[in-house]
Each structure stands twice: as structure tokens, then as C-alpha cells.
Symmetry: C2
Subunit: 349 residues, 2 copies
């Protein structure tokens, strides 16, 4: 199967023969570098990689050795998101008779060179990366081999020059807060994610807009940044619940943080939802299994992964692909939210 | 790399040439069938497969095209076990510079023919199967291609002729029950797994032995089979907690069932652990995140998967491998267990 990639960056194109000539090596050596072969001396490899990168080389044909594999790479497999994303890619792979190769690699900012090398040898149909952004050399290495790649970015911080799939964080924050306001809550706390993640900011801005549009003042003491983990949710909720005027509801920013809020409520002798309403975010399976089951914002993780894998297939077929796809979030009402205990605002404890 | 498999079943061996002759086809056709190629007419393929199976054919050399991949196959990726098992295989694969191919396929009893076909084309280093038992044709197809395979079997029902890894279910049931007895509980309920799974039986037998050794009578009304899911735990606990003489502690048989017990306790107005102690089983991450955090039996899932993947590597190297490896379980005490409310046995509600 010989399919060409989109050649929308024709400028500065160079042929394999030209790379070989400039590097002072044979064409077959350049080809070995492109295919991740190990039998090339490191200095030669580096020289060839630099030339490929400097001229934004892109392979126009695909190798016949290409394997029916889709790769998915995470920097953190521990994430409760991981399984849903894997299942989404798996669904699309099955439909194309392809296998899914799963790797945990690198940091939040880049997969490791080890993965890159092994992947180049595997020659997959395409790569789904669960990373917020990619270093330019990673992008160039993939482009040089004509391996399509798409980012799944639940953090909401898309790399502008890579096709990516995310979801509507601002709308999610708005919907969660509106739901609490409609129940009659006035003192609503928010524990959003880490300060340096755009999705945390977007959810917080959605919260602010809902409060402002309802004519409610936002108490700065009830806005805390968290870490998206259970411990962060517990600590921040314990802080809010110890205040003289505690909130009657907390929008927890993630399901894991919501579990921490449930535990803080239990330790403070507060019943959820009778004394305190709690809203999560993500709608992973633990949200359904919590006690009480969490009202939460559904982030369509499986669909996001399916879209990403389908984008790979469209890229291979030279079909047009949007650079950024944002799927809708939606509120799922379960048992952790109810009207506040005594109308507007709760007394201190 | 040409490594031969253990040839401990020399009887009835047949060569490729003999298979070809008996099937009335060329050797290259037989070879195509072995390699999962699509360009063989179905009746021919079936004829060749039957001959290979009848003579327990085993390839003695491996293909040079073999890919540095380890496959892991689940019948149900939804399982909370899945991620831990994947991580274990991933760890070993990384150490051998191999990728991990992940597939959800088939039923509890067998992966699907689709997977088999695609896997044969991928030619992995080996296969880890998360299934209790395998149909003989699946075993024979893998053996014919000389692809090593190991079963991970948390259900405790190992296939006798396949290397498998499990964990000590009976000991887990014993430890969980002894812990409750040591706290002073006398009326201890158990919700074990499905009736037809050996691990459910083994955990129940461990419970019975602990009760008998402590001189405690077992109330048959406090022994219920569940489904290993949250809903089953909720239903069975609701049943136990509605009895005139309710238990002061429940051993829930799985962490998911324990979450159901927590919810049933909440709905019945019982505080955990003050009014009711709860012990889970598995020690997946949700056990730590529950409110209160669950006392549970740790099943070393990641290690089990690491052992299984290492067994593949030993099989490849013709090193001896035990047919059944059972790893130890251990009790993890957290916050869902405490002494019973008023000494021996609780009053009806």
C-alpha cells in the first residue's frame, strides 16, 4: 500500500539522495536511519537526523513492511483516564483489523527516545499520543517517516500544529456550577486542577461565569487549585469545611478530587448530599461506584480516543482533518447533589 | 534468532513436508497457513490446520520475521484488574525492548479467531492470556507456531497443561476473616464471587476455616454468592442488613462488592466502621480511594503479570517453567474495619 501524506509543506523539500550526498553516506544508510535500524554508527545517525530535520524531510511513500498496528503512548498509565482511552483506540483498531501497541513512556512533555526507536522499527499505521504538547524533534521524526500522529489532550492545551482531540472544559465548569445554583446553593466552592493546566483554568472560568450570571458573588476563599488526585481534593475540602462560613456545595474539578471531598465530609461528620453537595468531573467508572454515586461532568474519553484513531486513518487516506476537535461534555446527575440544608448559605459549624 | 521450544511431546511429530504431502498441497502453502497469511483458500486452510492438530505439529524453529512484541489478551478490558496486569507486562516488555499489544477479545472461555489470525501475522515473542482455560484448538494453534503462552488466572481455575499464574485465594479469605475475628466480631457475613468460579469457593472456604478454628458458628444466612460487581455487593449487603440479626462485619469478596456494601450501609444509616466493618479483596486503587479507605486483601496483580511475562521469556530460552505459580496475598488494614459496636453481635435494627 503506497499512500502519500498530505504534502502541504512542500517548501524546503529534499530527497533521500540529497540527504545521503550532504551527509557523505549511502542512500541505504539514510534509509536505515529512517527505519530505526540499529546498525548505523551514532555520529552518522545524528548527522542524518539533523539534515532530515533541517530540511523538514517527509517520506512520500510508505514502507511495504508497515505493520497493521496503531500505537498509543501515555506518560502515565496510572491515570484513571487511560483505560477509557485505550478502549476507544481498540474499537477503531478492531474495525481496521489492526492491533494496538500500548506504551507508557517519558514525561508529561515528551515520550522517551527509547519508545521512538522501538516504534520506528515497528512501523505502525499511526500513533495516538496522550500528551499536551510534543517537542519539535519528535514531530519531525514522525513526519520524516510519514507516520501520522494525533494528540489526545484532555488537559485542554493543544499543540497548534498537530491534529488533536479534547473536550469542552469551560462548558463543563459552567454546567456543574449551574446545576448547584439551580438547587438553591449560594456558597459554592471550587477545587479546580493544577494552576498550570489550561483545563483547570477553563473549568474555573466556567464556574465564575455561572456565578456571575446568577448574580452571585464569588468568595475568593472558596476557589482553590488542586492536583487532580484524591489527596488534593481531601486537603482542599478539609480547608474549606473548617472555615467559619463553610460552603454548602463543592465543585471538585475531577472525580478523584470529588472522592477526596467525600472523605473530608465524612471526617467532618457531614452527610453528602444532605449537608454538602459534591460535583465531580470526568465521569470515570469510580464516579458511579462512589457512595453516594457522584453527580459529575461527563468527559467523553472513549469517543475522544475513537475520534483520534479515526483521524489517523483519515490522515493516511489523505482526507482533510481538523487541527482541533473538541467534543461536548455533559452533566450526569446522580446522588451527591441536593438542595442546601437550610436555604441560602449554611451556618458555621 | 533460532530457538527451539521444549520438545517434551515428541510423540506423533510430523514434518512440514509430510503435512504438505498428506494435504496434497505445497510446503509453501502449509507455511502460509502457519504464518496466518490470507492467500490460502479456506478449505485448504482447514485441511492443513486439521492435519497440524491431529499430529500435534510443533514448529522447531522460529521465524526471522518475529516482531519484538508481547501480546496480552483480555476477554473483558473493563475489569479493574486490567490496568495493573497491563502495567506488569509492560514492565517486563520494556526490559526486553519489546512493545505490548493489547487486545480485548472473545468470551471468558476463549479469545476470538479474529485475534488469533491477526496475532499469527504479527508473530509476537509470546502471549499472555487473561482467561481461565483455553480450548484445545487455541493451544494447538499456538504450539504449532511455537509461540509461547502463559495464562494469568485470577479466578483460580488453572488449565492443567498450560503454564499459569494465580494467587492464594484460600489464604486471602482466611486472613480477611481472622482480622475481623481479632477485632471481636462474631456475626461475620461473607459475599463471595459467582458460584461457578473456583476463587469464590476458595475465599469462602478460607472464611469457613477461620470461623471454625475460632469456635464460631457460621450462620448460613450470612453466606451469599455475588457477582464481583458493585451492584451485587449492594444487593447482598442490603439483604443481610435487613435481617433481624444483622452482621457487625461483612467480608465483601472483592473491592467492587465492598463499594456496594458501603453504599448499602449508607442507605441503611449505618456508619462504617463504627456500626459495620467491611473488608474488600483485590486492593485495586479504588480501595484506597473509598470513603472510608477499605481494609482489603492485596492480590499482587502487577507482580502476577510480571511473572507471566517472565515465564514467556524463560519458555523462549528453553528454561524450565513451573506449570502453576501462585503468589501470596496479604491483608492491608485501612479504615473500614474496627471493633464491633457493642461486643459480641449487634442487635436488630
Amino acid at each position: 500500500m503506497l499512500l502519500a501524506m498530505r504534502d502541504d509543506e512542500e517548501l524546503g523539500r529534499i530527497t533521500l539522495a540529497q540527504v545521503a550526498q550532504r551527509a557523505g553516506v549511502s542512500i541505504s544508510t539514510v534509509s536505515k536511519v529512517l527505519n530505526g535500524r540499529q546498525d548505523v554508527a551514532p555520529p552518522t545517525r545524528i548527522k542524518v537526523e539533523r539534515l532530515l530535520e533541517a530540511h523538514a524531510y517527509r517520506r512520500t511513500t510508505r514502507s511495504a513492511r508497515e505493520a497493521p498496528l496503531i500505537e498509543i503512548v501515555f506518560h502515565e498509565l496510572e491515570s484513571i483516564w487511560a483505560m477509557e482511552l485505550i478502549r476507544g483506540v481498540e474499537n477503531v483498531a478492531k474495525a481496521h483489523n489492526a492491533g494496538v501497541v500500548l506504551t507508557e513512556s517519558g514525561t508529561r512533555h515528551s515520550p522517551s527516545p527509547d519508545w521512538m526507536e522501538a516504534m520506528l522499527q515497528r512501523r505502525p499505521l499511526g500513533v495516538v499520543l496522550v500528551f499536551s504538547a510534543l517537542p519539535s524533534e519528535v514531530k519531525q521524526q514522525l513526519r520524516a517517516r510519514s507516520i501520522p500522529f494525533v494528540i489526545i489532550d484532555p488537559a485542554g492545551d493543544p499543540d497548534p500544529d498537530v491534529p488533536s482531540v479534547g473536550s469542552a472544559n469551560w462548558n463543563g465548569g459552567l454546567a456543574a456550577t449551574r446545576h448547584l445554583i439551580e438547587y438553591g446553593h449560594r456558597r459554592i466552592g471550587i477545587i479546580t486542577g493544577p494552576e498550570d493546566m489550561l483545563c483547570s483554568r477553563a473549568r474555573l472560568d466556567g464556574y465564575r461565569s455561572a456565578m456571575t450570571m446568577a448574580g452571585l458573588e464569588v468568595d475568593p476563599g472558596l476557589i482553590l487549585f488542586g492536583d487532580f488526585h484524591v489527596e488534593g481534593g481531601y486537603d482542599r475540602a478539609a480547608e474549606m469545611l473548617s472555615r467559619p462560613e463553610r460552603p454548602t456545595a463543592i465543585f471538585a474539578g475531577s472525580d478523584l478530587q470529588a472522592l477526596g471531598v467525600l472523605e473530608a465530609a465524612r471526617v467532618h461528620g457531614l452527610r453528602v448530599p444532605h449537608d454538602l453537595s459534591v460535583v465531580g468531573y470526568d465521569d470515570v467508572s469510580i464516579a458511579r461506584w462512589a457512595s453516594p454515586a457522584l453527580t459529575t461532568v461527563h468527559q467523553p474519553l472513549r469517543q475522544m480516543a475513537e475520534e483520534a484513531a479515526q483521524m489517523l486513518m483519515r490522515l493516511r487516506a489523505r482526507e482533510p482533518v481538523s487541527t482541533r476537535l473538541e467534543l461536548a461534555t455533559s452533566l450526569v446527575v446522580r446522588k451527591s447533589t441536593a438542595p442546601p440544608p437550610e436555604g441560602d448559605g449554611a451556618p458555621g459549624r
